[in-house]
């Protein structure tokens, strides 16, 4: 037999079957139950990534954010968008063998919705109705915790997704401090069996450890902190970044009294967002003047991110309340947020403010110099986007960040997909004085050499069911990966 062509190059366009995909995440997801969803948006986003392996929703979104059928094959609504009828895909079974009927779908979604909505099941469809219009219902159903599941007799949940949960770690960490969950391919998935045989997820792995594991071929997919991305690229590691999906923002305490909007404006004008994005976050972030990133709203360019220290000083001079020290708490305890908070404090001090940065546990401690009684309060928050519909996302943000009932009520009045109204509502939120947008961050993952068809959605949904592994190729090229690890004698 003759062999032509460069032998090292293998053709590999169509997916291959087999193998275990090893994933590491920083977040400690403790439960995969749509009924008990995490409040913290960052943990909720990580939970959603894992839940999507096991569960499915009525509707999904394509790469352009357009609603597409998942468990529902079609839908229709009345003129006012108060009543939506979804026809379910027939013959779909949960992983425990139970048929996914409209009754099952309605029973699983009902506890996830607020009381203002009714969910009814009939022969082949599910109807959702409300006294108020639901223009974003499709986007809402396609995200967050709105999964369809079957509650089994032992209290566990079964889904229709591409993987079965075969091991959940509980609270028992391994020697490296990580929790390990295992998902195995669902051969009977209506959408087709995934290409990998299983997905092994290590939860609660530190960012530093993840980089090492990727380099040594002990992991195939890891999640990078923003300050690691540049070094990872320099080290030749394969990375992928989503569109900006996380907002770092300063939230001024609304109690006991609402903050003076001029205070927020003065602080906002003092902040050098470009320096935070380009220097501190090593070009991994984007300056944020509004709450929603440009790719989501289309109008983010209308919000200014300009720094004007002189104007900030002038405004500060007009404010009696500015004389009080501003306490800035860093939530989440991660290093990136801490660095950004320190930088905000430096900028604000240059404009004449007194800002004290504290960790989550520092505030209000007895005898602390940061006693809440003598200071104005604020916190630096990380917020992960929850929806791709502007109005729904603003509503979720208001609820998660505690931006007030008035804002929530104003958002409810927005009719349908009206960008002018969404913009006006977002403008009102930003100028309301309680929230100061700082930077948007993408989600960045590192990929092992064997990972193929990594085709996540732009907003970060991973779609691990489409990923496949080319272990032979990673061994042939000598790139980091499990096969090359064996060649170099490194131990897992």
């Amino acid at each position: 037999m003759l062999l032509f062509g460069p032998g090292a190059t293998r053709g590999a366009t169509r997916p291959h079957y087999g193998g275990t995909l090893r994933v590491e995440m920083r977040e400690r997801v403790t439960l995969l139950d749509p009924r008990q969803w995490p409040q913290d948006s960052v943990v909720a986003a990580a939970t959603e990534k894992l839940a999507e392996l096991v569960f499915e929703r009525l509707v999904t979104l394509d790469d352009n954010g357009r609603p597409r059928p998942q468990l529902a094959v079609s839908w229709e609504h009345d003129a006012e968008m108060k009543r939506w009828k979804f026809t379910l895909r027939s013959g779909v079974k949960f992983q425990d063998g139970t048929l996914c009927t409209p009754k099952e779908a309605a029973a699983s979604l009902a506890p996830l919705f607020s009381g203002a909505r009714q969910i009814l099941a009939d022969g082949s469809s599910v109807t959702i109705q409300s006294a108020a219009p639901m223009p974003d219902l499709l986007e809402e159903l396609a995200g967050g915790r709105n999964f369809v599941f079957h509650l089994q007799g032992d209290g566990t949940l079964s889904g229709t997704g591409p993987f079965r949960l075969s091991n959940w770690p509980g609270s028992q960490a391994d020697t490296a401090g990580a929790l390990r969950a295992v998902f195995t391919a669902n051969d009977d998935a209506w959408s087709g069996r995934p290409f990998v045989d299983s997905v092994e997820v290590a939860l609660g792995v530190t960012a530093t450890r993840q980089v090492v594991d990727l380099q040594l071929g002990r992991a195939d997919v890891v999640t990078f902190a923003p300050d690691q991305v540049r070094r990872a690229k320099q080290a030749g590691l394969q990375t992928w970044s989503s569109a900006p999906v996380e907002l770092l923002a300063l939230v001024l305490d609304g109690k006991p009294e609402a903050p003076d909007p001029r205070l927020a404006k003065a602080i906002s004008l003092s902040i050098d967002r470009a320096a935070i994005a380009n220097v501190l976050l090593q070009r991994q972030g984007e300056a944020a003047g509004g709450l929603l990133p440009q790719w989501l709203s289309g109008y983010a360019f209308l919000f200014t991110t300009v720094t004007d220290a002189e104007r900030a000083k002038q405004l500060r001079g007009e404010l009696a309340s500015a004389a009080r020290p501003l306490r800035l708490r860093v939530e989440g305890g991660d290093e990136t947020a801490r660095l950004v908070a320190e930088r905000v404090a430096v900028n604000a001090r240059q404009a004449g403010f007194s800002v004290q940065v504290s960790g989550k546990g520092d505030a209000g401690a007895p005898g602390s110099a940061l006693n809440a009684q003598s200071t104005a309060g604020s916190r630096l928050v990380r917020y992960k986007l929850d929806s791709i519909a502007a109005r729904a996302e603003l509503a979720a943000m208001v609820a998660s960040l505690g931006l007030g009932d008035d804002s929530a009520a104003a958002l409810k009045k927005i009719s349908g997909n009206d960008p002018e109204q969404s913009y006006a509502a977002e403008r009102a939120l930003v100028e309301g004085g309680q929230v100061i947008p700082l930077v948007y961050l993408p989600e960045t993952v590192g990929l092992g050499a064997a990972v193929r068809d990594w085709m996540p959605r732009r907003w970060g949904a991973w779609r691990l069911e489409d990923v496949w592994l080319d272990r032979a190729e990673s061994a042939a090229t000598g790139a980091p990966g499990p096969s090359s690890e064996a060649a170099t004698g490194a131990k897992p």
């Binding site: 460069p6 032998g7 190059t9 169509r14 087709g192 290409f195 790719w295 997909n417 002018e420 193929r452």
Partner: protein, 467 residues
């Protein structure tokens, strides 16, 4: 030749027509082709892709102009600026600017390049994930108004895209935002209708050309109880169906097949589907036809159950059997313009392409090709060529290159033809068994998933002479 067709009470038969190419057969090759069926003429040369309905952007521009006119009295001399933050091309922006200017002038505006004008209209063409968002900031003196319109990004036909100067040429013939598995053009010589069939995971859609636009003629639901493989593949072929005494359009999918009489493609009840499909049976399972360009062979390949590749089991008439290593795609070809069907070329699971000769004997292996290939007969020199995809995964833009194959090896005869996404399907242009060789240029269809838009696009690939 008779091939098994497992629908109760029916059987499918490939019709034979002698054509010169078949007459050239001199030596038995890998398998002898059983030649062709010509009950349709395939009309080439017509315009595949109706032009973009350019009115979408212009209509939006007029809509925005109306809003501006309502906000700013027309008698105020105004300066109009347009900036683009979206993915619209320069040409499209220019078109929008012209439409805006025209609409504003029609509304009585006096547009001036003078920045000192009383009115200022600053239009920003922006976009979100799913929509275009155009923002007009209208200023008059100290007062300012913000106006917005949004509209969904259109999905539809695209203008033909010619790659001038390349021997291998692509023409965009169809775009849609849902998954496409195979596409074939049908042409009924009796009625002169131009029809197109598109196979999707859940339906077989038949379109008809009318007023220079494709309109859906019928949609046949393709449903089965067991799940499809995640990387679903399928092929459209033409068969003569003895029981129905007519020609049928058959959709062959893994472990499944459907067919509809072509003459009654408007009658949805005529679509018959079964778990065995319109193909020869191999070990009790349906096989897929292998083709040589547009020629449908009686040789079929067994598709692996619930996977995306073929097992390598081949079967033909008179109980003929052969086994080659598993492959993702395979096609027959002749050498030096002779002996069609003498060789089989496959894209193996091992990442190599393999050339087989008599009795499935492997003659050569090639590296660097992707998983999809097909064969075409060049008009220019009457040589068979292999069209092969590139070797990266589906996160990358792909290429198709034409290779010449000889006993001495393979050589690229064209530059790689680039696509805006991975090639997820590659097959003969004509409906196999319905094509005609004489006087026809032999081409292929490539289906790609556009990485920028997420849409599925079908391209006609052809070899043109002289570069």
């Amino acid at each position: 030749m008779r091939i098994g067709w497992s629908r109760p009470g029916t059987e499918a038969v490939l019709r034979y027509v002698s054509v010169p190419v078949c007459g050239q057969l001199k030596s038995p090759g890998f398998r002898r082709p059983v030649c062709l069926s010509f009950f349709f003429l395939f009309v080439l040369g017509f315009s595949f892709a109706p032009e973009v309905k350019g009115g979408v952007l212009e209509d939006a521009a007029r809509q925005l102009a109306q809003k501006i006119a309502a906000a700013l009295p027309p008698y105020v001399p105004s300066v109009l600026t347009v900036q683009n933050l979206s993915t619209l091309s320069e040409a499209q922006v220019s078109s929008v600017r012209s439409a805006l200017q025209g609409a504003l002038r029609n509304a009585g505006f006096s547009l001036s390049p003078d920045s000192g004008s009383q009115g200022q209209i600053r239009v920003t063409l922006s976009e979100s994930l799913a929509e275009y968002l155009w923002v007009a900031e209208v200023r008059r003196g100290e007062s300012s108004t913000l106006l917005m319109i949004s509209f969904a990004k259109p999905v539809g036909y695209s203008r033909a895209d010619h790659s001038d100067g390349l021997t291998l040429r692509k023409d965009l013939v169809w775009t849609q935002d849902t998954q496409m598995i195979d596409i074939k053009f049908l042409d009924d010589t009796n009625s002169k209708r131009q029809r197109m069939a598109i196979l999707e995971p859940t339906r077989l859609a038949v379109y008809e050309q009318s007023d220079n636009a494709w309109k859906i003629r019928n949609s046949f639901s393709v449903e089965r109880n067991t799940p499809w493989p995640r990387d679903l593949r399928g092929e459209l072929v033409g068969l003569y169906q003895k029981e129905l005494k007519g020609d049928t359009l058959a959709a062959i999918l893994p472990g499944f097949g459907c067919q509809v009489p072509l003459q009654s493609a408007s009658d949805a009840s005529k679509l018959g589907c079964s778990a065995t499909g319109p193909a020869s049976e191999i070990a009790g399972k349906p096989g897929w036809f292998l083709s040589e360009g547009p020629i449908l062979f009686d040789t079929v390949a067994e598709h692996a159950e619930a996977k995306n590749f073929f097992t390598g089991q081949l079967a033909g008439e008179n109980g003929w059997r052969a086994k080659v290593p598993p492959f993702y795609s395979a096609a027959f070809l002749g050498l030096n313009g002779r002996d069609p069907g003498k060789f089989l070329v496959s894209a193996g699971l091992d990442g190599h392409a393999h050339l087989y000769g008599d009795a499935a004997k492997e003659l050569a292996a090639f590296a660097g090709w992707g998983s999809d290939l097909t064969t075409v007969l060049s008009d220019c020199d009457t040589n068979w060529r292999v069209l092969a995809t590139g070797s990266q995964d589906w996160t990358h833009a792909d290429t198709i290159t034409a290779f010449g194959v000889s006993e001495q090896g393979v050589v690229a005869v064209t530059k790689p033809l680039e696509f805006p996404g991975p090639v997820v399907g590659l097959g003969p242009e004509q409906l196999p068994a319905l094509g005609e060789l004489k006087g026809r240029r032999q081409g292929a269809f490539a289906i790609i998933r556009n990485l920028q838009t997420g849409n599925y696009e079908a391209y006609r690939i052809s070899l043109s002479c002289g570069g």
